[in-house]
């Protein structure tokens, strides 16, 4: 049996394997991102970067619930100027680096991309889906016109591969996905976290300082699988699955639903960065068992039924 091919190419962006580090996790320093890459990630996505520095919300910014975590970090980031310095300071040529961006206006995205584009980053992911920051994220991500203008503005400024990360907190995700595709997105990342809340029974208080946060982890995986399945049927561009992957079976499920790659985030809280190697091995063995030569061969197989 020949070694199955784990590499994938998403609209010109090549990865040695289909596992990516999801945005928001360990993504503020190149040192952390490099470590995750060395642990086996095919690509790494930075924490979302905005135009101005943001300290984010007060703590508690994270709390565990059954089946996952709630977080409301609040898009903390050093701002694009500082982040460019971080990138320039480090050697990143060999790093399959995707920079995640958030903003309120098309012009903001355009300015950030013009500052970043000369650096050796491989792709962008637009975070049009953060569930808990007013004026950004999902508030932008459910507005078809805003999505169109932002995606067009970024495509006009840069020739790099562009992923758009969408939220499940919308009425019609397929419609939003098509808008992003029409506007020029090269791929879609589905899904961001889901608006959720947790209350402490002793003190009667919502635990997160921001009260509402985003739910991630195994609890949201079936929702993510459904989103990937529905959207991949409706669009032609590749889908990157994200939401609750903790083992190789989860990753396979995303491929079968129609994803060409998957992102891992919360599982790092459970298992640390070494989980990448383990899931990669599981995918390889699965492909051998099923007599498949590549990940590509199993993408969307669930659509046949």
């Amino acid at each position: 049996m020949e070694e199955p091919n784990l590499s994938v190419e998403i609209s010109g962006f090549r990865m040695k394997n289909p596992l990516m580090l999801a945005s928001g996790v360990l993504g503020i320093s190149i040192g952390s991102l490099r470590r995750v890459h060395e642990a086996g990630a095919g690509a790494v996505v930075t924490k979302s970067i905005g135009y101005e520095p943001r300290v984010g919300y007060d703590n508690p910014t994270l709390v565990e619930v059954h089946g996952g975590y709630l977080n409301a970090i609040g898009l903390s980031n050093p701002g694009v100027k500082e982040f460019c310095k971080e990138l320039s300071r480090s050697k990143i040529d060999d790093l399959p680096l995707v920079v995640s961006l958030f903003g309120a206006e098309p012009s903001e995205f355009k300015d950030m991309v013009s500052m970043l584009d000369g650096l050796k980053i491989k792709a962008y992911e637009l975070n049009l889906s953060c569930p808990h920051v007013k004026g950004f994220g999902v508030e932008v991500g459910q507005d078809s016109r805003a999505i169109r203008e932002i995606v067009e503005a970024v495509k006009e400024e840069s020739g790099k591969t562009l992923f758009v990360k969408l939220s499940p907190n919308v009425t019609d995700m397929v419609k939003i996905a098509k808008v992003a595709e029409d506007a020029g997105a090269d791929a879609l990342t589905l899904i961001n976290t889901i608006r959720a809340m947790s209350i402490d029974t002793e003190t009667f208080r919502p635990i997160l300082a921001n009260k509402v946060g985003g739910l991630s982890g195994p609890a949201i995986k079936p929702i993510a699988i459904r989103c990937v399945y529905e959207v991949s049927k409706a669009v032609k561009i590749p889908i990157i699955g994200c939401g609750g992957v903790v083992d190789w079976q989860d990753a396979i499920e995303f491929f079968l639903a129609g994803a060409q790659a998957v992102q891992l985030g919360t599982v790092i809280a459970y298992r640390g960065p070494d989980i990448f190697e383990e899931i990669k091995r599981g995918i390889r063995n699965y492909l051998i068992t099923k007599g498949r030569k590549s990940v590509r061969e199993i993408v969307g197989l669930a659509h046949d039924f």
Binding site: P53, V65, I207
Partner: protein
């Protein structure tokens, strides 16, 4: 399954260590089993949640030591016995106690994680040289507790103040070399201002003595996913907070040089 949620605990006792430092104790089984050097995330409802070293580790009691500096620590400082806080953890790796000839060097509330370590080491009849440093006598904490612990073993306690108001005039790090020259030392444990720890590390490297240093960084999640406490490729909350010499060597460009603020921006550590 959901261990990373705040547990509400009642403060059993609140004790003044100095005019600005208090030790607060509570009952919590997990913290009573903590390793010295581990930390907890302390939730002051409605205010903040902050990482704090566990400074008391006893069979039926655990505790933390707070200096009133920021909004959260001021509010925490004023909570009386009988009041409640939320805690989650213990988190992090903690110190690895050895049996042998050890040096412990700390200053200010940096001594908090070193105190339960000192007590454990003293029980194991190690030989201990302890250096406690401070700016002035008024800032000294834990000296009596250190004496009580060290009484049980072959030990020496050296205190230093910058103004000479207690012990030797000078910096805590000035006291290291005379001790190292006088006797062999198997390991140095340290916690305190980062520039002090950096100096401890440099002296120890030159003398060929391994170090375990407990580092402080901005911590939000405490469980190794948010990335705010990154130093080099490590996460202070999960891979640390205690770094041994090989790891300190790996992060030497950052250790004692800069940290990151809540946004992730780099803040240079001042040498003044």
């Amino acid at each position: 399954m959901t261990s990373n949620r705040p547990r509400i605990v009642r403060l059993v006792d609140v004790k003044d260590e100095s005019s600005t430092v208090r030790t607060m104790t509570f009952r919590d089984d997990l913290c009573s089993k903590a390793k010295p050097g581990q930390f907890i995330m302390v939730w002051i409802p409605g205010v903040d949640e902050i990482p704090m070293s566990i400074s008391v580790i006893k069979e039926d009691l655990a505790g933390l030591t707070v200096r009133e500096v920021g909004e959260a620590s001021k509010t925490l400082f004023d909570i009386k016995a009988g009041g409640t806080i939320g805690i989650r953890g213990p988190y992090g790796n903690g110190f690895t106690p050895i049996i042998g000839k050890v040096m412990i060097i700390g200053a200010g509330t940096g001594l908090a994680p070193l105190m339960p370590l000192t007590e454990i080491l003293a029980e194991r009849s190690a030989s201990i040289d302890m250096i406690i440093g401070g700016k002035t006598i008024d800032e000294f904490v834990f000296v009596d507790r250190a004496k009580r612990a060290l009484f049980k073993t072959k030990s020496r306690l050296v205190t230093t103040t910058e103004d000479g108001s207690h012990g030797i005039r000078g910096l805590a790090t000035d006291a290291i070399l005379p001790i190292l020259r006088e006797k062999s030392t198997d390991i140095i444990y340290t916690c305190g201002p980062e520039l002090m720890m950096r100096k401890v590390f440099s002296i120890a490297q030159e003398s060929g003595v391994p170090v375990q240093a407990s580092l402080e960084r901005v911590m939000k999640c405490g469980i190794g996913i948010c990335g705010s406490c990154c130093i080099g490729k490590y996460r202070a909350c999960k891979d640390g907070p205690v770094f041994d010499s090989p790891k300190l060597e790996e992060v030497k460009d950052e250790f004692g040089a800069f940290r990151r603020d809540h946004s992730g921006r780099i803040i240079k550590l001042s040498t003044n």
